[in-house]
């Protein structure tokens, strides 16, 4: 379900209509010619490191090529489940701890786990924590984390206790371009490196954990029975003409016709599939799962449109002249062909473009899989 959100505050565009027009026309070519010479699916180089802080369960730092940088820390704490005896447990017949293990139990875990167990906070310098931008960004990230439901099941300890997962993301630099992909990749890395102390109590006992940090298990295990799924990533995709462009720079965002935030994750291999053909090569690439797709209000809406010479210089310059002249100019502009001069896009996303974006992101040779593979190499 697309949700509109404003991106304008940090992405002020200081380009003239002529420059915008030039950028736009070169990006609509097939193949698109980007200002920095990348291909349309190519990412800018980034610096990433994981597990950098000893105080956090998992942490990561990612530095993008444009100088924006974020640090994410994951804290996992035991918390008492508030309404442990909610209606759901009426249906449960609890007599031993076995039921959580496999099969039947996982469905119950899903029933009992709650969205509030995952909390995400984004801090952006110069913004209050209750400003729209940090709240909205945290919302997108939390939504992606909770979408599959697998994470919150993993936070389940027993019916009285659960892990509470706090993801705190600090943007260390000013938000030069829309920081969503940066924050998402940092969160992904931090969650990949997150560890949880080994549980040594069983079932409904008060939870007791191993003191040995070396025995701690990964929140997203890479091997073993539950291996497979990876934390979600959110990518920013821009459409210009018939082109889809990944990892847009600030200039490219300035002429984007639509901006889409796509959240993806790699689902875990189902036991059935694992016993089948997947078993031969567990490292084989899989299709990604689409978690959400949001359109984001592009900053190009805020640009001013160019005035073609055919309309006459005085009409353009004298915008505040007589009412008749300026309204005439507006009417005349409405009828113009888009290609002639720059005019801010009117929004909207064609259906075939949505299909194209999803295919590019989720296919096993697609961009999403490439990003996930690259980040897995960091840890």
């Amino acid at each position: 379900m697309p949700t509109q959100a404003s991106i304008n505050a940090q992405a002020q565009v200081f380009l003239s209509p002529a420059e915008l027009s030039y950028l736009h026309s070169s990006l609509t070519l097939n193949p698109a010619i980007r200002p920095d010479g990348r291909s349309s699916t190519q990412f800018r180089p980034l610096v990433a490191e994981a597990d950098i802080l000893s105080n956090a369960n998992g942490s990561a730092r990612v530095c993008f090529a444009d100088g924006t940088e974020a640090v994410a820390g994951v804290k996992i704490e035991v918390e008492k489940t508030q309404d442990a005896w909610k209606a759901a447990d009426a249906a449960l017949d609890v007599d031993d701890g076995e039921e959580y293990e496999e099969g039947r139990g996982s469905r119950r875990k899903a029933d009992l786990s709650e969205d509030v167990w995952v909390e995400t906070h984004v801090e952006i310098p110069g913004y209050r924590e209750d400003d729209a931008l940090p709240v909205f960004l945290a919302g997108i990230l939390t939504e992606a984390l909770l979408a599959s439901g697998e994470l919150k099941q993993r936070l389940f300890i027993n019916r009285r206790f659960h892990w509470k997962l706090y993801v705190d993301i600090l943007l260390l630099s000013q938000p030069l371009s829309y920081p969503l992909p940066l924050l998402s990749l940092t969160t992904h890395l931090a969650l990949l490196s997150a560890r949880v102390p080994l549980l040594i109590s069983q079932g409904e006992e008060d939870p007791l954990f191993s003191d040995d940090w070396a025995a701690a298990t990964l929140l997203y295990p890479r091997t073993g029975a539950v291996a497979g799924d990876k934390p979600p990533i959110t990518l920013l995709v821009v459409t210009i003409g018939e082109n889809i462009i990944f990892d847009p720079s600030k200039d490219e965002l300035a002429v984007a016709e639509s901006v889409v935030a796509v959240s993806l994750d790699e689902p875990s291999i189902s036991p059935a599939a694992r016993s089948g053909k997947q078993k031969a090569n567990p490292q084989s690439r899989r299709n990604l799962r689409l978690l959400s797709l949001r359109t984001i209000d592009p900053p190009s809406h805020l640009t001013s449109s160019g005035v073609p010479t055919s309309l006459g210089m005085e009409t353009g310059a004298d915008d505040f002249g007589t009412a008749a002249t300026s309204s005439e100019a507006i009417v005349a502009r409405e009828g113009l062909d888009r290609g002639e001069v720059w005019s801010p896009p009117r929004g909207g996303l064609k259906r075939n473009m949505v299909v194209k974006i999803i295919k590019e992101c989720t296919s096993e040779e697609g961009v999403g899989q490439e990003v996930i593979r690259a980040l897995a190499a960091v840890g």
């Binding site: 950098i52 802080l53 000893s54 105080n55 956090a56 942490s59 530095c63 444009d66 100088g67 924006t68 940088e69 640090v71 820390g73 994951v74 804290k75 704490e77 906070h121 801090e123 310098p125 209050r128 924590e129 706090y166 705190d168 600090l170 260390l172 630099s173 000013q174 030069l176």
Partner: protein, 401 residues
């Protein structure tokens, strides 16, 4: 007094050393513990010169700093940036400016001097337990205020009228000496941003093992050193012991900031301060090392920037000076850096040579006043400066009485 004796471990063939019981002024239990041979762990600690019992929780002696690791120019997008670790306390600092104040309206960036703004962000994951920073936390506010005030006195704020320097500090991990780490990180980032300053503002903490007791009238023979002040406290030590944070300007004994948040006997202040100031000197050496370690090209660019800032400001001041005396034409003013430790000022042929002396050095001042008086009556100089041999900038300022 100390009788050292080698002995052979019954479990292995290695020799180990311990301090023998003839060390008369240590009590028996302590001697016992120090002479225990921990065969299972590793090579026994060489305690021949220092008893184990006098080591702190993390194995440091009373006057040892933790490992300090720092880097400058860590963020490409900021004007100046630094990353600093003091033990497990990890801080990132980014500096924007000096630039024209962002906020319009009456407040901010409108003054005659540089407006320093400090913002501190405690990451939720920085402590042992996850804690969200509350808006308007008084302790954080006080820290920010302390840093602002001490930087205001150390940076040459008068060189940047109507501009703002925003310093944003992020705490990634806390393990004691937080304010000290923040001050050091802010200093590094300011140097990286090319803001002229009198000298490095460096800080560290000092604590005291005996809280309420007054210091002994004289050092007794049986003083085993357990009442010593200690340097650079960790979070655990900060919880247990009274401590103070002291910041000094450079390696001199000039205290720029002193923050005491706990109670202790007034008589203890002297020795704690002495230990703290001594620690600051060592932090200063480490900061110097960081500067030398910074990529050479970048460092030289910074130095050039610094020089330009100083000389430009000097030229502007001088021009104002001349115009305000009713001169009809501005004499050509050219400022050049002759050698690194010297700034030479060519003013219509008259040469003012600035000798590298500490800020406000009398010799320097007298020389400049003498030369300027020849052209302009009544000129006086408030302070002088140059690039020190270690790359530090000092003030240059002129005016009339």
């Amino acid at each position: 007094m100390i009788d050292e004796r080698g002995d052979r471990c019954p479990g292995c063939t290695k020799w180990y050393w311990y301090q023998s019981a003839s060390h008369t002024f240590t009590d028996s239990s302590r001697t016992q513990s120090s002479s225990q041979h921990l065969h299972s762990s590793r090579m026994p600690l060489d305690t021949s010169s220092y008893t184990l019992s006098q080591l702190r929780l993390d194995g440091r002696r009373w006057n040892e700093l933790r490992r300090i690791h720092a880097q400058i120019s860590t963020h490409a997008a900021a004007d100046g940036s630094s990353y600093l670790e003091m033990g497990n306390t990890k801080v990132v600092c980014t500096v924007t400016g000096p630039a024209e104040g962002r906020r319009a309206g009456g407040q901010g960036g409108g003054g005659d001097v540089l407006d320093v703004r400090v913002e501190i962000g405690l990451a939720g994951f920085s402590g042992v337990e996850r804690r969200r920073q509350v808006r308007g936390d008084k302790r954080i506010f006080e820290m920010a205020h302390t840093i602002t005030e001490s930087l205001n006195r150390t940076l040459l704020t008068n060189l940047f009228p109507r501009s703002t320097l925003s310093i944003s500090l992020h705490v990634l991990s806390q393990d004691g000496s937080l304010l000290a780490a923040l001050i050091n990180a802010a200093t590094l980032a300011c140097v990286d941003a090319g803001v002229p300053m009198k000298d490095y503002l460096v800080a560290c903490t000092a604590g005291c093992m005996s809280a309420g007791a007054p210091p002994p009238p004289q050092v007794k023979a049986d003083d085993d050193g357990s009442n010593d002040p200690i340097l650079d406290l960790t979070a655990l030590e900060e919880q247990e012991l009274p401590f103070l944070t002291v910041a000094t300007v450079g390696a001199e004994d000039k205290v720029a900031a002193l923050v005491i948040e706990s109670r202790f006997h007034a008589g203890r202040l002297d020795e704690m301060l002495a230990v703290g100031v001594d620690g600051c000197k060592r932090v200063k050496e480490l900061v110097d090392e960081v500067m030398n370690m910074a990529p050479k090209s970048r460092a030289s660019v910074r130095r050039a920037q610094l020089t330009r800032t100083i000389t430009d400001a000097f030229a502007v001041k001088l021009r104002d000076l001349i115009w305000s005396r009713g001169a009809t034409a501005t004499p050509p003013i050219r400022l050049a850096l002759v050698a690194r430790p010297r700034v030479a000022l060519h003013c219509s042929g008259g040469i003012f040579r600035l000798i590298p002396v500490p800020v406000g050095g009398c010799a320097c001042r007298a020389l400049a006043v003498g030369r300027l008086d020849a052209r302009l009556k009544g000129a006086h100089w408030q302070g002088f400066g140059t690039m020190g041999s270690d790359g530090r900038a000092v003030a240059i300022e002129g005016g009339f009485t």
